[in-house]
Symmetry: C2
Subunit: 457 residues, 2 copies
């Protein structure tokens, strides 16, 4: 307790987690299963294994095993960029004049620039272990594609990335990092797949979408011997791997006798938030520990706060299984929003269930206020944050200012998922006053919600 | 000794250096003094203080004080991004199949992306302490400008950066980071200074040069009440601040009972190399410890390996004092070379003297082989290195491969000064096979050497 808290808490290597924590084992209401879109029956392991690696299918379906050992090869890779620091934001506290203690778990200190690497390396490892030749995936903004390229390079695995054409053209730097790691990067829609050819024929000159890129990646994975498809968010397996974030954060707090009061994370598909909150949420469920947990989503893409809790397609192409989640509808296209990682129409089933059970809160933040918070943070804490992460910063600052009013010394922990090095076009717009806040109307949302598939179990 | 060496060695906060190490105090032959270009007499403190902050002038001229305390405010800032990790390159060793142990000190884990912040924060602190309103500087590639912007933002100091026009236009992202930190960034040559107007009139449409940007920054600093000029390399004071790199590296090695055999750093103006080697060099001079120290410069800009040891101007505009250094001549313009930080025509006086005394070696590396080494490194170690830093990687790999041949288990330490996030245009050229190696001919170098000022002391 009396130990002075350093600016950055790094665990020792031997204090790093040796197992991932599977929050589902401690959930009273389990997340709803994925459904086969044809039969509307829960997807079996066999069905899933045509698309995903066997071991990952096992993890996807396992709602019971509390701790799943992290293989030594993955732990060794983690040691190259983990533990990530839990930073005490002394300078931000001072700037705000708040009695609150603010901590952030910084996941940007690796070349992919975000937390995505935590799951990418796990998925690549299991693919290699299964004797596969390569994996396919899609990427929009590029964080996930970069992380997967790094992971595949490490395990000498082919990596084929379908990158949404508009990003491919506008973000050549992201593409170049992937090429440095030996990945093949194809603008989507391409002429290499049936679905790509079809879309190109129907929409000449289209700049692509994430939904289309997913469909191309799945088609290649299923049609190429020795290949599987991998995904960077939403899935149970991804949240499992990302639990390393929360486990480290909690261990670091425990080491200094600190107890979080409020835990805040940005939420797109849910990979970061699900990982960060896992051990705190587990304790809350099991022991009733008083943790306020807040998901922050962009006002332009408010799946938790304004979506429906229903079965929906995971992709716009509707080739993937159905998942029960808070969703805006699989063909909802958010307005231009520079937080590329928060544009997904749905939310992981695990988080959706926890939210529905009242175990966590959700709120939204507008783009310009997010960038304002990002700039405030960057100037005092010396880290240029990703727009996604800055949603969490915004709400952490708000909570800290509430403490200033009430005089409460709360402990706030938020996830700083990545750096903004590849988002400087957005920063430029913000500096030049050319950034808009767009919030969908109720009518718009109702239009998409009306198109949700009708599923009765 | 028997302690297992982790992938990354982080010092505890209380183990971080509390004083910078002034290598000059231990040098037998001191570096030659700066000369007033008019009188050819050593610059006095009074003369220097028109341009630089008083405390920095003191540090610049102090060849005697071995340790200079790091003020608490600076140590607090250092705690936000330091200690930087000393990384054991286990994966690179395995990839090379070498018995050598390879370590690198990674300085890229801060938003400026390089070691430059170590001196920027010190210079900003002393400016603030002196009650100044702001500072001016120039930047080429942008690493130094970014670091200084961050430092000035922290101490609430105006920061005016003259950015070489071609970089200003081609590197809008760097510029945007500086704006995020509140700096004013002006393309140089500008119409805001006499020298800028003159150059614009004489060379309409010029895209600028570092020499011109320096002259503009100095003109504004000297002509604006409450302003001083700051510089990110070459100067004694900068090497002093950068000694924090070497002090941490040595403390981390000592903690695990490791002794470096070979220490390698890239060398442009000398700020990183001078900082990294300081405590090792000091021990070598004082106790005769056997350290091989190697400076690596680009083959396109070989000041140590092919320059003259002579008094020369520090800037192309010839408004700054004369420094005795290994130089190619102040109007030498290196061929296009993507390691923007290694394009300086001269080398810090401290390093020049040490090299002349035979206390360190120097070698060159060609651009394409540097990028090849960068890619090899990125793929196994998971960090995308800056082109500058990759010069050190190249030679570290060469030395490790020599150990493979001889079976020697040498310990190699090199400086990884920064990340390559803002150098992806260069990576793209490399991947596309469009990168050339240019090496100046003897005739070319002789032409510039003939124009060196004639100074007899």
């Amino acid at each position: 307790m009396s130990k002075e808290i350093p600016y950055k808490i790094y665990l020792e290597e031997q204090e790093m987690p040796k197992a991932w924590y599977n929050l589902r084992a401690d959930m009273i209401n389990k997340p709803a299963p994925l459904l086969n879109p044809g039969t509307l029956k829960p997807m079996t392991a066999e069905e899933l294994s045509a698309v995903f690696c066997d071991e990952l299918v096992k993890q996807e379906l396992d709602n019971d095993t509390r701790f799943i050992e992290i293989p030594e090869e993955i732990r060794n890779f983690y040691k190259m960029y983990r533990p990530s620091p839990l930073v005490r934001a002394y300078c931000l506290e001072k700037k705000l004049g708040t009695p609150a203690k603010i901590y952030y778990k910084f996941e940007g200190n690796n070349t992919s620039g975000s937390h995505k690497l935590n799951s990418a390396i796990a998925q690549a490892y299991y693919a290699k272990k299964q004797g596969l030749k390569g994996v396919t995936t899609e990427t929009g903004a590029g964080q996930w594609g970069t992380a997967l390229s790094m992971a595949c390079s490490y395990f000498d695995l082919d990596c084929k990335v379908f990158m949404v054409k508009v990003s491919y053209e506008q973000k050549p730097f992201r593409r170049e990092v992937m090429r440095t790691y030996g990945a093949s990067v194809t603008p989507s829609p391409s002429m290499e797949t049936n679905v790509g050819k079809k879309i190109n024929a129907e929409h000449p000159g289209t700049t692509g979408s994430l939904g289309c890129a997913i469909s191309e990646a799945v088609e290649v994975a299923v049609g190429t011997p020795g290949y599987r498809y991998v995904l960077g968010s939403v899935l149970n397996q991804v949240l499992l791997h990302q639990s390393v974030i929360g486990l480290e954060a909690k261990a670091a707090l425990d080491k200094y006798g600190e107890k979080a009061d409020i835990i805040i994370g940005c939420a797109g598909g849910g990979s970061n938030l699900g990982g960060l909150i896992a051990p705190f949420m587990g304790e809350k469920i099991q022991k009733g520990t008083d943790y306020r947990i807040i998901a922050v989503e962009p006002a332009s893409c408010p799946s938790l706060t304004r979506g429906k809790y229903a079965y929906d397609f995971c992709d716009t192409g509707m080739v993937c299984p159905l998942a029960k989640m808070y969703t805006l509808g699989s063909d909802f296209i958010p307005a231009p929003n520079h937080a590329g990682g928060l544009r997904y129409h749905g939310m992981s089933s695990v988080l959706s269930q926890l939210y529905d059970d009242g175990l966590m809160e959700a709120t939204t933040a507008k783009q310009t206020e997010v960038f304002q918070a990002a700039e405030t943070f960057a100037r005092v804490e010396g880290i240029l944050p990703a727009p996604e992460s800055s949603h969490a910063i915004k709400v952490a600052i708000d909570e800290a200012l509430k403490c200033k009013e009430t005089g409460e010394e709360k402990t706030i922990v938020f996830g700083l998922t990545g750096t903004g090095y590849f988002d400087l076009v957005a920063y430029e717009k913000f500096h030049d006053g050319k950034m808009d806040d767009y919030i969908p109307t109720d009518e718009e949302l109702a239009k998409y919600a009306a198109k949700l598939p009708k599923v009765e179990l």
